[in-house]
């Protein structure tokens, strides 16, 4: 991939705090215009990596460029292309929502009336108009996150860092944040998102780097990561238990693999051969079952979960 298409290129980033190797040789290539997930458990080094890339921390070693601009020698140019929503609310808790946004708009260079207008617009778009005049310390976690993201797009950044944007949010707020991220990336901003949730990376990210103890231990699309660990499975629950034998024959015929009968008298599971496209196999099988006149209550494509991927990867490193 050419330098121009990369939002971030990092090579050998290292940051140690005394004897803690927070970041210990991280290489990253983040394609422009996509969501890139950095996935790792507590203490993996996600925040430290993001802070280095956002020019907030100087690495002990390694270099990185953001849209071709060097972090160290051209920090001002980098700052004018990125914005950061930190892990802990990057807002002034004493100020109200609207005051926070007006202050930041002023600091971006908006004149006072334009700053007020932009702040009001953002609050409205993020569903926060009613809370605009409340101090941020009275906001719920979900509202804070939204305000924080709103503050990050006062000026539309070319690259947005979101450090664990949904940690601690309820499912509804989390879904809203996901929608916001999708909208932002659809408008052309590159998003680097850190998360501890495999599902979140799977939902949003085009590519994922899995990091642990300061090192990238795997990198690729969610699909690649999954298939590097093992193939998925297809699980079917039937409407009539007496159709199970028939279903077993149809499935093994269609997939050319062995099909196991579950303890559940109406269920059966087929493990897919490695390397096959799970989704494609899924629709093929569903068609075959329908043609054979077998009624299906529930059908699930058991892709190996990213949890399994993660466990497999970290165990491999520990071993």
């Amino acid at each position: 991939m050419s330098q121009r298409d990369l939002a971030i290129r990092a090579e050998g980033l290292v940051k140690h705090f005394k004897d803690v190797k927070a970041v210990d040789g991280v290489d990253l290539e983040v394609p422009a215009g996509t969501v890139y997930g950095v996935l790792g458990p507590n203490g993996a080094g996600k925040t430290t990596t993001v802070r280095i890339l956002a020019t907030l921390l100087r690495p002990d070693a390694g270099t990185a460029t953001v849209f071709g601009r060097d972090l160290h020698t051209d920090a001002a140019a980098v700052r004018s292309q990125v914005s950061l929503t930190g892990q802990y609310a990057s807002l002034d808790e004493d100020l109200t929502g609207v005051e926070n946004l007006v202050l930041l708009s002023r600091l971006y260079g908006y004149a006072k009336p334009a700053a007020r207008e932009r702040a009001a617009d953002l609050l409205e778009a993020f569903g926060l108009s009613a809370a605009a005049g409340k101090q941020v310390k009275a906001y719920s976690g979900g509202m804070r996150r939204r305000l924080d993201i709103a503050a990050s797009i006062i000026v539309t950044p070319k690259l947005l860092f979101l450090d664990e944007p949904t940690t601690g949010l309820d499912p509804r707020s989390r879904n809203q944040v996901w929608d916001v991220v999708r909208t932002i990336v659809a408008e052309g901003t590159t998003v680097l998102l850190t998360t501890q949730y495999l599902e979140e990376a799977d939902q949003l990210a085009g590519r994922i780097a899995v990091i642990d103890t300061g090192k990238v231990i795997a990198e690729g699309t969610p699909g690649e990561l999954k298939s590097s660990v093992g193939a998925g499975s297809i699980r079917v629950r039937l409407h009539h238990a007496d159709q199970r034998e028939h279903a077993q024959k149809v499935l093994s015929g269609a997939l050319a693999v062995e099909v196991a009968l579950d303890d559940d008298p109406v269920a059966l599971t087929a493990s897919l051969a490695p390397g096959l496209d799970t989704a494609e196999q899924g629709s093929h099988v569903l068609g075959e079952l329908a043609r054979a006149g077998i009624l299906v209550d529930d059908f699930s494509l058991g892709q190996p979960s990213l949890d399994e991927v993660f466990l497999a990867l970290t165990n491999r490193v520990d071993a």
Binding site: A54, T55, L56, R58, R79, S80, S83, L84, G86, Q87, Y88, A89, S90, L91, D92, E93, D94, L95, T96, E99, L103, L104, R106, L107, Y108, G109, Y110, A111, A114, R118, E124, A125, F126, G127, L128, S129, A130, A131, K134, Q135, K137, A138, Y139, S140, G142, M143, R146, A151, I153, I154, V155, T156, Q176, D179, V180, T183, I184, A186, E187, T189
Partner: protein
């Protein structure tokens, strides 16, 4: 003073859903304006600091009440013993105690900087393409307002107690002006300390252990002529004593231009050395 009622409870109803179309429009119109000038960014931070006073007015209480207590306490407690009468002593004490109590409150700036730097909000400030010193200068500008308010209150209380400045309104204004210049410059010591220490408590204890001897070993309370010979030259030449001489002269109407000049030189020195150290520490954070 009016106390603004602010909610601290999380009693806000569930927020409305995100409006995707609106958001899309905002993203499409978020072109970057020309960055603000150094002055404009410092002014924005000063505004932030004033908003904090509005939302948390208690913080002003310390700064306004402390000086009055100092003034009353020293006048009536020591007046008789030191100068043989409270009226005369007040005449001597007021400029000095004003310097002392306002210089003491400069440490709040260092504590505020320290509190900020440990919070996420300063990460955001530091990713903005603005003048690097703006957050600190903003604090200091807003502090000028607080110091001026404290000065006015002390002066008003003094007048009620019988203080009469020979230097007139102009002398008093110039004297307070000199004090503000010094405080602005001297505060850079604390902004630097605020950036290199771990917690605001550390800032507090270190700055107190510097300020207490520095303000008491001065001509604030007593004339150095009454001190032992070896101590006198030390006391007379500290920056605080020079400042007090300068302010006292302006208030009293017999200007001590050497002290005024020395104070301005000290001020320039503080800004040059500790301003530099502050910015360097800020960039290295």
């Amino acid at each position: 003073m009016t106390v603004t009622q602010t909610d601290t409870k999380s009693d806000v109803d569930a927020p409305a859903p995100v409006e995707k179309e609106h958001l899309r429009r905002l993203l499409a119109t978020g072109e970057r304006p020309a960055p603000p000038s150094a002055f404009a960014s410092a002014r924005a931070f000063a505004w932030r600091s004033m908003l904090k006073i509005k939302h948390v007015p208690e913080q002003l209480g310390d700064i306004l009440v402390f000086p009055i207590i100092m003034l009353l306490m020293f006048t009536y407690l020591f007046g008789g013993a030191i100068a043989g009468g409270t009226g005369e002593y007040l005449q001597f004490l007021l400029p000095g105690i004003m310097v002392m109590s306002i210089v003491m409150t400069t440490i709040y700036t260092g504590m505020s900087v320290n509190i900020d730097i440990n919070k996420g909000v300063s990460d955001r400030f530091r990713t903005l393409p603005i003048w690097r010193a703006a957050p600190m200068v903003g604090y200091l500008l807003a502090d000028m307002f607080r110091y001026a308010a404290a000065g006015a209150i002390m002066f008003g209380t003094g007048m009620v107690m019988g203080y009469r400045p020979e230097g007139g309104a102009v002398g008093v204004l110039l004297g307070v002006g000199l004090l503000l210049v010094f405080c602005f410059a001297f505060s850079w010591v604390w902004t630097w300390l605020g950036l290199i220490t771990r917690s605001e408590k550390t800032v507090m204890s270190i700055s107190m252990s510097i300020l207490f001897p520095m303000t008491f070993l001065s001509n604030v309370m007593v004339d150095p002529a009454t001190m032992p010979g070896w101590l006198r030259p030390v006391v007379e030449n500290t920056p605080i004593s020079q400042l007090v001489d300068g302010v006292r002269g302006l208030f009293d109407g017999n200007v001590d231009s050497v002290s005024v000049l020395t104070t301005l030189i000290w001020s320039a020195g503080f800004v040059a050395v500790f301003g530099f150290l502050t910015i360097r520490a800020y960039n290295r954070k």
